[in-house]
């Protein structure tokens, strides 16, 4: 079982966000929403930003512990 706090902690320790907001769209359906602002995303195409975030949760997404991750990823 994945928890919001774990998702947020992993984002914070990997992407150095200036802001990070994680919400469970539906805990039961394992759908989460993340909104991240980080310098890392400067000049980075949208697909790559999303892929970078997805990669942090690759195991959970493949195993189904996370069914869907709704991502907003922007530079400051």
């Amino acid at each position: 079982m994945v928890v919001v706090a774990e998702i947020e902690a992993r984002i914070r320790s990997n992407l150095e966000p200036t802001s990070c907001e994680v919400t469970a769209i539906s805990e039961e359906d394992r759908k989460y929403s993340v909104a991240i602002v980080s310098h890392i995303f400067e000049g980075m195409p949208l697909l790559k930003r999303h892929r970078m975030v997805n990669d942090l949760f690759k195991e959970e997404l493949l195993s189904g512990d996370i069914h869907a991750l709704t991502i907003v990823a922007n530079p400051p």
């Binding site: 890392i40 949208l46 697909l47 999303h50 892929r51 997805n54 997404l61 069914h67 869907a68 991750l69």
Partner: protein
């Protein structure tokens, strides 16, 4: 920023998706991706989407007036699991134009909102 650069390198190096898939399956997946100029891998069909994001992707394409072919990943477990590795993209739906992954629903929605998606289809003469 040193840690960030290491992270970027690691993540960039990690994305050699197609090579990690068995050759026969990779060939099948490539055939599907190239069977039309616009191909969307859905969970379900446009008429019977099995997931909200698939339904929203279908709605988006309809509103934009885009013609596309689709593949229902629920019909083929091997393709369903293999494509996640092939594309280095872990969720469905997935939109391809001329054989290239555009992204999942989130990416497409964001691109629609900032005008990039319409521009992309127009540049490709698909709209």
């Amino acid at each position: 920023m040193f840690a960030s650069r290491l992270l970027l390198l690691r993540l960039t190096r990690a994305s050699h998706g197609p090579e990690k898939v068995a050759p026969a399956l990779a060939a099948s997946i490539k055939d599907i991706i190239l069977k039309d100029r616009v191909v969307i891998f859905l969970t379900g069909t446009p008429e019977e989407p099995r997931c909200r994001f698939t339904a929203q992707m279908v709605d988006m394409m309809q509103q934009m007036g885009v013609q596309y072919s689709f593949f229902n990943v629920l019909d083929d477990d091997d393709v369903c699991e293999g494509l996640k590795t092939y594309s280095d993209w872990p969720t469905y739906p997935q939109l391809y134009i001329d054989g290239e992954l555009v992204g999942g629903y989130d990416v497409c929605k964001n691109m629609l909102l900032n005008g990039q998606l319409t521009r992309l289809f127009q540049e490709k003469k698909l709209l």
